[in-house]
């Protein structure tokens, strides 16, 4: 049972540490110590006395329940967790369900504890119907979850780890090699990609906000774009690990270096496409089409340069960070000094030279080094 605890309960809380920190801060960090009991009493009283508020509360708890169920089912679908079918899955049905209930109650505990406190208050103050509703709701949620887990145990489906949309896509479309990394990010590292995109969008919106009050200056736009690329530097760094771990076979394929370069260019164009759409909408408003073109070329060329630098042997995170900031400041000063075009040409030349020189010399990191 200890192993199941580690696989489901412990792993759930570890993986959602950031989520719980945010929730904890919102519920307990935004109100001063003395007012905290009154704050929560207010919330509980709110949903005990207003059915609209109660409905909203149930919706939030329902969303959290979905998160819990989805986590457990996804874990059960991972190939390296397939042992649950040979262990948990071979127990008598009653014991299987008891374990399922224990897992569900453990990860759904934050809601159950809050509901328990609300029940004590409700019983004291005579709000019987709302407390019955919340009690029944949470009981049904846990029962449904237990049934779903038992059903999955009986009908193992490792393919369920693949999202439905991807399964559909696999049947209808063949992914070109320059989309491998964007797919990897969306499917396997969604948190990293959405966090980066949120920060990147925030920076661009802030740039547009400041530019609204002043005359359109492409240099200000370029500064925003530079920060945007800077935010993507971790994604670029991770690309090397992805290539070294999963795409080493690509180096054995007879693909000319110019095509490899072009494919990489397309990869970064796709990765930055959401930002380009946002930029396009805003630059079109002021008719700055030439600036938009420059911004697109800059962003991709910068990403390509950072990527190409990673082809130098054993360039670790520290060395890479130094390069990222060095390039950032050089480009920044050139842009501020109205040397935009010259800077772009330099970036392109540097990218091509480094990529063409280093690609054949590159030595992929060993699997053990990547895992470290």
């Amino acid at each position: 049972m200890k192993a199941l605890h580690s696989m489901f309960i412990h792993r759930y809380y570890v993986r959602n540490t950031a989520f719980f920190l945010v929730v904890f801060y919102l519920l307990f960090g935004t109100v001063q110590g003395g007012g905290l009991p009154r704050f929560h009493y207010g919330i509980i009283k709110g949903f005990l006395t207003s059915y609209d508020f109660l409905l909203m509360m149930l919706a939030i708890w329902g969303a959290y329940a979905l998160k819990c169920v989805s986590f457990v089912l996804k874990t059960m679908a991972l190939p390296h967790y397939a042992l649950v079918y040979e262990t948990w899955g071979v127990l008598p049905l009653a014991r299987q369900r008891r374990i399922a209930a224990w897992i569900q109650v453990s990860i759904y505990a934050p809601v159950l504890v809050y509901n328990g406190v609300a029940a004590v208050i409700a019983l004291r103050e005579g709000y019987i119907l709302p407390v019955i509703i919340t009690g029944v709701f949470n009981m049904v949620v846990c029962l449904v979850a237990v049934l779903l887990y038992s059903r999955r145990l009986l009908h193992a489906d490792l393919e369920a780890a693949t999202p439905r949309w991807l399964r559909w896509l696999n049947g209808h479309w063949r992914k070109p090699s320059w989309l491998y990394y964007p797919f990897e990010l969306v499917i396997r590292q969604p948190r990293m990609v959405w966090t980066t995109k949120a920060a990147s969008f925030a920076i661009l919106m802030l740039t547009f906000h400041f530019m609204e009050d002043a005359r359109f200056d492409p240099r200000a736009l370029m500064l925003g774009v530079l920060v945007m690329v800077l935010l993507h530097s971790i994604i670029i760094f991770r690309y090397r690990y992805f290539e070294d771990l999963y795409l080493t076979f690509m180096r054995n394929l007879p693909i000319p270096i110019a095509r490899r370069y072009g494919q990489l260019w397309l990869t970064y164009a796709v990765l930055l496409l959401p930002e380009f759409i946002l930029l396009g909408v805003h630059t079109a408003r002021v008719g700055a089409f030439l600036d938009m073109w420059m911004v697109v070329s800059y962003s991709i060329a910068l990403c390509m340069l950072l990527h190409s630098l990673l082809l130098y042997p054993r360039l670790g995170e520290e060395g890479y960070t130094r390069w990222v900031f060095g390039i950032f400041f050089i480009v920044l000063f050139m842009v501020l000094g109205h040397q935009t075009l010259c800077c772009l040409v330099l970036l392109l030349v540097a990218t091509i030279l480094v990529f063409v020189r280093q690609f054949p010399r590159y030595e992929p990191l060993m699997e053990e080094e990547i895992k470290e």
Partner: protein, 209 residues
């Protein structure tokens, strides 16, 4: 078929492998050596996955460094423990190989059927067992029109029937002029393969026994 000339592979400042001079005629070669001796390093160099000093010539005229595209078209490689992006299907990988290596004498369906891989190629590789992944990597290595196929530990995780089918494929392809370099800790000659020679990787070099 393949010749090594002053080949040296360093990891940092440490010499991992040095092959001053070695020429091998077409055939099936079994590469022997202890764990960590450098067998996989040697195969990765030959597959164009690792940079090295010196010259490797295929079919007397294709230099691995001067003509990497032509060279890679002629050298296929199946790694010991294959890893592919989990969201790709077997079919997508096969198509990628066919697009780059070009079509070969064997139909994909035939190879898939022979290796027992036909039933799962439309699903993402993330759902494959290690044996299924191994079969896929072998299937990919048999695609195109290679002169040399490098097989790193091809026997691990394969069932008995697939091993026999793979030996049959190797023999058939060898009869059409394809050479093989195979690393394995099992005795290949006892398994029904007619070996041309045995290579020993030890003391940071590779020699023909």
């Amino acid at each position: 078929m393949i010749s090594f000339n002053q080949v040296e592979k360093y990891y940092g400042d440490t010499l991992a492998l040095s092959i001053p001079q070695l020429t091998l005629e077409a055939g099936i070669y079994w590469i022997q050596g202890e764990n960590g001796a450098g067998k996989t390093t040697c195969l990765k160099m030959l597959a164009g996955l690792l940079p090295f000093k010196g010259q490797v010539l295929l079919d007397d005229h294709i230099d691995s460094r001067k003509a990497p595209i032509a060279y890679r078209k002629k050298v296929n490689y199946a790694v010991a423990e294959p890893l592919y992006p989990e969201f790709l299907t077997g079919h997508e990988l096969i198509q990628l190989y066919l697009d780059t290596k070009g079509p070969g004498p064997y139909a994909v369906e035939e190879l898939a059927r022979t290796l027992g891989a036909g039933s799962y190629l439309q699903t993402p590789v993330g759902t494959y067992s290690s044996g299924m992944l191994k079969k896929l990597s072998l299937l990919l290595a048999f695609l195109g029109n290679p002169s040399l196929i490098l097989l790193d530990e091809p026997l691990i995780t394969l069932d008995v029937a697939t091993v026999a089918a793979m030996y049959g494929l190797i023999s058939r392809m060898h009869a059409t002029g394809v050479s093989f370099m195979i690393t394995t800790h099992q005795a290949l000659s006892e398994e029904g393969l007619l070996l041309t020679g045995t290579l020993q990787v030890a003391h940071k070099t590779m020699v023909r026994l």
